[in-house]
């Protein structure tokens, strides 16, 4: 039954994706700025004939409905088109960079969860203690600090000054493992290369901390609020009255219900993280799809922007579906 519901939800995503495809197509073409003009740059002589030739190559000389038809018919065949600027298939460009974004997203998420959940639980259990106040103050700063600034501070301190960690990139040259998933840490474990694993870990650390800290702050605050609410419920009092240890009361009885709002936030954040964070990717030279997307927007690289937005939408839809499925495990009363 659940399986059928999941299939229904996936099928329901198709018209959503179609709507997104049409909307982004229209918005990009309505946005001022000509891609060919921008590609030629502000230098030298370019003849009108050359510009016309390139416009024809990109089918930009055709009426908008014709362009839309070509685009949608390509989409149905799984062809996202070819990037104007990079001259490569959009699907390949996104597919090549997605593992990097996935790796950074997972790293940030794990760090965020590993820090945020215990801190939230801790603060709720020891409400109003000095540790509670310090952790909530820390969470406040974590949310307020702009990732651009934090990333640069971390680089200046840990990379430039102390020399402990690399400045940018995904892995030291020469240590990249054989590509299986495209995620260096996973691939190095699968191929048994400890040197690659550690190198990719040290490269992943600072960008993950930059993104994970904000996520941990949000999770800690939400976890704390929901734990405080749940811990005041009658069934938790009953669990204590039955003589259970506090650890069992918190983890077995209170935590599962308290996790529901946190899972909601994590679901939204997964979508954000998997969409790539252009600022962090630029600061750390991380070759993900965030940077790809922003460069494409400024260059008016229509096929690439369209492709990236469709992937973002798909990511959000899948992430939300995963969150909804997780709800049903956390609380069997909730159905899809």
């Amino acid at each position: 039954m659940r399986f059928v519901k999941i299939i229904e939800r996936i099928l329901a995503a198709i018209p959503v994706m179609l709507g997104v495809a049409v909307m982004v197509f229209a918005f990009m073409r309505l946005t001022p700025g000509d891609p060919v003009d921008l590609m030629m740059g502000e230098a030298g002589v370019v003849s009108k004939a050359e510009i016309q030739t390139i416009r024809e190559q990109f089918k930009l000389d055709q009426p908008l409905p014709t362009q839309l038809f070509h685009y949608l018919s390509g989409l149905v065949r799984g062809d996202l088109g070819t990037s104007f600027k990079k001259k490569e298939p959009v699907g390949k460009l996104i597919f090549d960079r997605f593992p990097a974004t996935m790796e950074l997203a997972l790293g940030s998420l794990l760090l965020g969860l590993a820090m945020g959940i215990p801190i939230g639980i801790w603060s709720a259990v020891k409400q109003s203690s000095a540790l509670d106040r310090i952790s909530m103050l820390g969470a406040f700063f974590g949310i307020s600090m702009p990732p651009f600034w934090l990333g640069l501070i971390l680089i200046i301190f840990f990379s430039a000054t102390l020399g402990w960690l690399p400045v940018s990139g995904r892995i030291t040259y020469g240590l990249a493992p054989t590509s299986i998933t495209g995620m260096y840490m996973v691939d190095s474990l699968l191929t048994g290369r400890m040197d690659s694993f550690l190198s990719s870990l040290e490269h992943l650390l600072l960008p993950s901390v930059t993104l994970g800290l904000a996520l941990a702050s949000i999770i800690a605050r939400i976890m704390r609020s929901s734990m405080l609410e749940v811990m005041r419920q009658d069934y938790v009092t009953l669990a204590r009255a039955k003589g259970n240890r506090e650890f069992i009361v918190v983890h077995k009885h209170a935590l599962r219900n308290a996790l529901i709002p946190t899972v909601t936030v994590v679901g939204i954040q997964i979508g954000v993280l998997l969409g790539g964070n252009m600022i962090v990717e630029s600061v750390f030279g991380w070759p993900g799809i965030g940077r790809l997307a922003v460069d494409a927007i400024f260059a008016r690289d229509y096929p690439l922007v369209q492709g990236v937005v469709i992937i973002y939408s798909l990511t959000y839809v899948m992430a939300n579906l995963a969150v909804d499925i997780l709800y049903t495990f956390l609380n069997p009363k909730i159905t899809l």
């Binding site: 946005t31 001022p32 700025g33 000509d34 003009d37 921008l38 590609m39 030629m40 740059g41 502000e42 230098a43 030298g44 002589v45 370019v46 003849s47 009108k48 050359e50 390139i54 600027k85 990079k86 001259k87 090549d96 960079r97 215990p118 639980i121 259990v125 020891k126 540790l131 640069l152 680089i155 200046i156 990379s159 430039a160 020399g163 402990w164 960690l165 690399p166 400045v167 940018s168 990139g169 030291t172 040259y173 020469g174 240590l175 040197d195 550690l198 190198s199 870990l201 040290e202 240890r245 506090e246 650890f247 630029s282 600061v283 750390f284 030279g285 070759p287 940077r291 460069d295 400024f298």
Partner: protein
Amino acid sequence: MGFMRCLRSNIHTLKFPSPFPLPTGERGRVRGFERRMKMKRWILILAALFFSIPSMAFSQDKTLVVGIMSTVLSLDPANHRDRVTETVIRNMFDGLVTRTPDGRIVSEIAESWKNPSPTVWEFKIRKGITFHNGDPLTADDVKFTFDRIITENAIDGKTAMRKGLIDPLQKVDKIDDYTIQFNLNSPWPILLAMLPHQQIIPKKYFESVGTKGFLAKPIGAGPFRFVEGRLDERIVMERYDKYYGGSPEIKPVGPPPLKRVIFEVIPETATRIAALQAGKVHIIQNVPSHMVETLKRDSNVVVKTALGTRVHMFEMNVNQAPFNDVRVRMAMNHAVNMDIIVEKILGGFAKRMAGAILPHGLYFNEALKPYKHDPALAKKLLAEAGHSKGFPLVIDTIDTYKEVCEATAQQFRAVGIEASVRIWDWGVLRPLALNGERKIVFQSWGNSTLHPYDLLNPKLMSKDRGNYSQFSNPELDDLLKKGGVETNPDKAKEIYLRAQYLIYNEAPWVFGYVPMEIEACSKNVENWVPSSDSRINLHRVSLK
């Protein structure tokens, strides 16, 4: 190692408090202690392994790392329009001619050339040059390269992006194995200046692997051969030991000293600078002028500059009041103290321009002096033009030039003009400026050939693609058309001197400046100088 010693000696004092009450009694104490010791042991092991992996294990075998500011678009020399991409490509591929760091054209793959008629050029190819796969370079490869660029739809059904850079080239003929002839559809004096931007590829190899295969493993005749690369991450090259030596006019001649070079993509300027200071890269490009003093204080870093080729100016819309009056345009030039802007805003890392042509460009008119900063004269001219009370003005520009424009706006306000600055995305501003919908725009234009043709023609010929001032003067149009096909240097000089006076007197621009290319390297980099066209040429560079 100091960190490791410290970690080992203090590990027993590390505490890991738990929010939950631990098991009580003797059994709880023992269990808790064992758990803590196990955790500390693992942390120690991981930390030891972690910090033993070098972040960049290159210094022992002479690997030089360059931090570049944007991704490489392609490894196909014919199919991109990007300076950073060209910088990387030109370390793997050579062209018929090249440029010295100070901008002179010298021989490279071509050992000599002649121009038997205004539309015909003949190049003699140097013998003994090989590609990275050992194949000899002959006229067939040169013909193949240029045919692929100039023929419509020659690259997998699409036309090469660089076709427009040699637009007048109509046909390429092989005379013999080492002689090639270029036939132009009209005389083109800047052919030699444009040829450094085209690099030779191997015909036989390309035809055997196709475009896709070539992009996966490019082969050229340059000093370095491709090893591996991800265009958005890093490109790795190694020395080509059988390199013919490059241009004999740029010393030293021979294979490169460096064994390996790596171009690392580091888009964020602050990160690039941090990487240089941390010793992770050896050369970085595009250092902002306000960071120069910081870098100069670092004894391990050397800052180097070269006069650039991007002209910066305010373009006034001559079809809109008040700029349809030349007196107002002259007043704007007198109102601005461009020397102060160069000194204070740009840190002195720019050269003021007297007129429209680069001060180190071809046919620059030495007699032209910049408009004198004279607010009183500016006010007088404005009053004569009927604007004694000034007028409102919005200076349109992009974020990069915000400071310069705000400083200039302040100077305009001093003569009664209510100037303010508006920042745009260039993609949105450009069509508005081109359609004449904006009054004054601050932008720049590249002139890497140093020839006035590809600066003045697009910027000041009637309705040309960069003419944001909407300037239209039949005499200037005529002069620029003649200059574009005049191959006699003396006659060309006459034409361009006249053009410069005309532009200066009509003042469609507030003439600005040309900034320096500021780059930096670590102190152990030898024999490297920045180029005015921002190219990073590693052929002759070595590491101490």
